[in-house]
Each structure stands twice: as C-alpha cells, then as structure tokens.
C-alpha cells in the first residue's frame, strides 16, 4: 500500500521534474551564460566533485550580460511592448465580439444551445495551423475579401491587410474567440433569470437590468476569458509568423528567430525568461480570479 502510493506520486513527479523543471533550469542557466561558452558542451558546468569551490566557480561564470544586452538593443524591448500591445488590443476586440455571441447563446432556447455550443467548440478541435492558414487566402491582395469588396464596388484598389498587424489582430481574435465565449457563456448560463425579473420589478428597464445585473454578474467569466486570450496571445508565434509582416514584432517570433536563425541560445533563453516574468502577473491574477469564483460557488 505504501509502495503503491509512492509509485503513484513518484512516477508523474519524477517525469515532470526531468521534463519540465530541469529543462526550465537549463534555460535559466544558459540565459546567464556567455555566448562563447554556451555552445555545446555547455560550460560553465557544475562539477560536484569540486565541492564548494566548484559551486563558486559555477556561479562566478554566470552573469547578467545577456539581460543587459536585451536592454541595450531596442529591438527587444520594442518587441515586448509591441507584444503586450497586440495581445491587449486583440483581447479587447475578442471580448467585444465574444460577449454578444455568448450572450446570444445563453438567450437561445434550451434545445438549441448544445448545438450552438458544439459549433463554438468545433474550431477548437480543428487544427490551429489550418485555421490561421485559412486567413492567408482570404486576406491576401488577390484574396477572397478583396475580390468581394472590389466586386461590390466598395473599393477599387485591393486593401493591403496580409503581412500587417491588422492581419495579426484578425488571426488572434479568430483563433482565441472560443476561449472567450465559453467562460462568459458559463457564467451567463448560471445567471438566475429571476434576478433580471427582480431588477425590472424594482424599476429597471430591460437595458438597465442588462447593464446593472447581467454585465456585473458576468464579470468573473469576462475576466477568465480575457486571461485565456491574453496569456497565449502574448507568447504567440504562429500567427505573427504567418499573417504578420517583417515589421510585426512579437516576442515569440523574436525568440524563434534568435534561436533558429541567429543561433544565439543565451539571448533566446534570456528572452524566454523575461517573457515568463511578464506572464507571471497575469497568470497570478487569473489564478486569484479562478479561486474567488470557486469560493463563491462553494
């Protein structure tokens, strides 16, 4: 019994230690290493045989040079700022589009809702890459959208959308829309209809009841949805790489290029560490929000 319990805890624990925690520590170590010595076989190496001196030796070789480099080169902090901006704006647009859809589903008769929900979830099961790819054909200069707009006579010259930040916004909103709709729907669905009736009974108009009751009670779902869009959008690589142009700066893309094109592993690792530090705040806030909701439902 004791052995079984140890195995049950031990196997997934050790697996995660080796394949999640240790790799992460390696990234941290390389971020603190010099370019020259960070090419395999990585030095500085920790030599346990040398005891305390080995430790000192190990730490003395680490420095914050890569992080200093990140602050001196404008490319990096511009990329961080631009990622934050793109993630924030697209989260906001996703909310503007997602809320009415979630609200609409919550207001449809019971027998329709499962089918509508399935329609929201279906894209989630379909390949992410394919869904982003679909937009290339639509947004390109000769694409479906421009053809349609020219045909209807709204414009005479094709709009340049593909390879701009606009295309990145569209891509993020499109890809993460289900993540926004589902948590908002979940809170709206639980909303007791008699609350709205009570609000109207006490003198609210229908829209007044919406603003003072529905919107207020949907807040936890809205917050959850925003984080679920914002967090992955911040580190996004595929969307800026396929839909964005050469001037689209996003940190996921920068990291990828540092690693695969420039082969500068220490800088790539430092970029990763800073990205994580930026992400910690929204993640902690998200956790708080979830916890608060759980306590409320209890």
């Amino acid at each position: 019994m004791k052995l079984a319990r140890r195995l049950l805890i031990g196997v997934p624990f050790v697996w995660l230690l080796i394949l999640f925690l240790i790799p992460f520590l390696i990234v941290l170590k390389i971020a603190l290493s010099d370019y020259a010595i960070s090419i395999p076989p990585y030095t500085p190496t920790l030599d346990p045989a040398a005891g305390w001196d080995g430790f000192k030796e190990f730490f003395s070789q680490l420095d914050f040079e890569n992080f200093t480099f990140l602050t001196t080169d404008a490319l990096y902090w511009k990329a961080y700022l631009s990622s934050l901006k793109i993630a924030a704006i697209s989260t906001f647009i996703t909310l503007l589009i997602g809320f009415p859809i979630a609200y609409g589903i919550a207001n449809t008769p019971d027998e329709w809702r499962p089918s509508l929900l399935m329609l929201v979830i279906l894209p989630f099961w379909t390949s992410f890459l394919i869904r982003v790819y679909a937009w290339i054909g639509i947004l390109s200069n000769e694409g479906f959208l421009n053809q349609a707009l020219i045909w209807t006579g709204i414009i005479s010259e094709p709009l340049v959308i593909l390879n701009t930040n606009t295309a990145v916004y569209i891509g993020i909103v499109y890809t993460y829309l289900p993540f926004m709709i589902l948590p908002i729907y979940a809170t709206l669905e639980k909303l007791d209809a008699s609350l709205l009736e009570a609000a109207q009974d006490l003198g609210c108009s229908r829209t007044g009841a919406f603003w003072s009751v529905t919107l207020h009670l949907a807040k936890p779902g809205v917050i959850a949805g925003c984080f679920l869009v914002f967090i992955p959008a911040l580190g996004e690589f595929v969307i800026p790489s396929l839909l964005g142009g050469s001037r689209t700066l996003m940190i996921g893309k920068v990291l990828w290029e540092e690693f695969f094109s420039n082969r500068d592993w220490p800088v790539a690792s430092a970029v990763a560490i800073i990205l994580l530090l930026i992400l910690i705040t929204p993640i902690v806030l998200f956790q708080r929000n979830e916890q608060k909701q759980r306590e409320q439902t209890k």
Binding site: L17, P40, T126, L129, R131, G137, V238, L242, L255
Partner: protein, 270 residues
C-alpha cells in the same frame, strides 16, 4: 426572460459567420481546378489526387500519427496518475511543487516549452527524432489530461471504492473493477484531447524534431510560408472533415445516452 432579441440574432449570425466562413472558403477552394488559388477555374478533385501522390506529406502524416498515438497514451497514463495524486493523496512533501508543475505547462508559451526541452535533449546528448517529440508532447499533454480527469475525480463518490473494499476487493482490484470503469469517459476524453494537441502542435515539435522526423504541422508550416497552395487546401479539407465527423458523432452519442438515461430514470420512478 430567455428570449432571443434581434440583437442576439444578429450577433449570433455575424459571430458564426466569422468563425465558419474562412473554413468554408478553404474547403471550397480545395475543389478548385485552377492552380491559382484565388481564381475559380471549375470543380475538380485533382489536388486530392496530387496530395495522395505526395510522399513527403504521407510520410509526415505517418510520423504525426505515430507521435500522437504514443504521446497521448503515455500522457493519459501519467495524467490519470497525476489526477489521483492531486485529488486523493492529501498532503505530501512537494505537493505545491507538484501541482505547480501540473498547472504551469498549461499557461507556458509554447516557444519556451519547446526551447527548454530542446536544450535538455541537447545537454543530455539525446538525438532528436520521434522519441524526443513523443516525450515533449506527453509532458505537456499529461497536464491537460490530469486537469480533465481530476475534475471528474473531484465529483467521484469515494464510497463506491469503499463499497468495493468492503465486499472483498484489494485496493488495486477496486481501482480496476470500480474506479476505472466509472471514470473511463473522462480518461477517454483526456486521451482525445492529448491526441488532438499532439496532432496540432507545430512549435514544440519544431524544437524537438530531428531531420528525419518531420511532422505534418511542420510540413504544412514550411509549405504555407511560401503562400497558399491548393494541395494544402485539400489536406486541410480532409482534416476539417475528419474532425467535424468525429465531433458530431461524439456529441450525438452523448446526447443519445443522456436522453436514454433521463428516460430510464423517469421510467424507474413511475
């Protein structure tokens, strides 16, 4: 109170149009005769034929299937174990670290997960290939599996296990003959989720793949970067079709079983 207003109708129509038009356009253009993807040249299925002749795509599909099946199976076993630990094990040394390691990969940007695993494989001198992708995929999808399974475990009536012990089962026997059959639906959906995540993953696979282990997303990505191609449209259509059929079957069968359950319960109380 639950009534569709015109506002609801409009936002639903526009919303679903936004979600589905891109995919519908993609599917339509996969049947385009013309090589020029933006010009309609008549109906044809020739790109499907060409796709099936394309050995590189077929090889990549095979690698992807192999990786997805292996990694989702490992992830399901580990994730189910982890779910048990999270829900049942109470306090133990390192519990906070353990749950942190379960939840962190869910929010970790893929580029970082991929980078860190690649650095691990290089530093231990492991050749990159199918094995490394499987390890990488199993690690991040086990976290998703454990979230799915542990939410089922949380509502599991532990007196069922106690009843099994009471009737003479050993703990392992009780798990095998009572717990597992009851949580099986959650374990299966965990497996499906892990499978889709693996099928879908580009970033982590790019970091951990070797030259001989190109997966389908890697292959698609490298051809898509050169622009729209009718072959990729055809491939996408096949993938969308498979997922749609699977999701429809799954939701219909769950709908039927819920309806049956409701009817049985109604009849039983008559």
């Amino acid at each position: 109170m639950r009534k569709l207003t015109w506002f609801n109708t409009v936002s639903l129509s526009v919303g679903f149009a936004f979600l589905y038009i891109p995919m519908i356009v993609l599917v339509i253009y996969s049947f385009n005769e013309s090589k020029l993807v933006t010009v309609w040249g008549g109906f044809s299925t020739k790109w499907y034929g060409e796709l099936l002749q394309n050995k590189a795509f077929l090889d990549a599909a095979l690698v992807t299937a192999k990786v997805a099946i292996l990694s989702s199976t490992i992830a399901t076993i580990l994730g189910t174990m982890a779910a048990f630990v999270l829900v049942r094990s109470g306090k133990f040394l390192g519990r906070t670290l353990f749950s942190g390691m379960i939840y962190a990969p869910l929010v970790m940007p893929e580029v970082i997960t991929g980078l860190s695993l690649l650095l691990l494989f290089i530093s231990i001198g492991m050749d990159r290939g199918v094995t490394t992708i499987v390890l990488a995929h199993a690690t991040f999808s086990m976290c998703y599996v454990s979230v799915v399974v542990s939410s089922r475990m949380a509502t599991f009536d532990t007196s069922l296990e106690e009843a099994a012990l009471d009737l003479g089962c050993t703990p392992w026997d009780a798990f095998k003959s009572v717990t597992l059959p009851i949580i099986a639906p959650a374990v299966i959906s965990g497996w499906l989720l892990a499978f889709t995540l693996s099928l879908d993953d580009l970033v982590i696979a790019s970091f951990t793949a070797g030259p001989s282990s190109t997966t389908l997303p890697i292959k698609i990505y490298s051809s898509v970067r050169l622009g729209v191609s009718p072959e990729i449209n055809a491939l996408s259509t096949i993938m969308i079709g498979l997922v749609t059929v699977a999701v429809i079957i799954a939701s219909l069968s769950s709908k039927i079983s819920i309806a049956r359950q409701k009817r049985d319960e109604y009849m039983a109380n008559q």
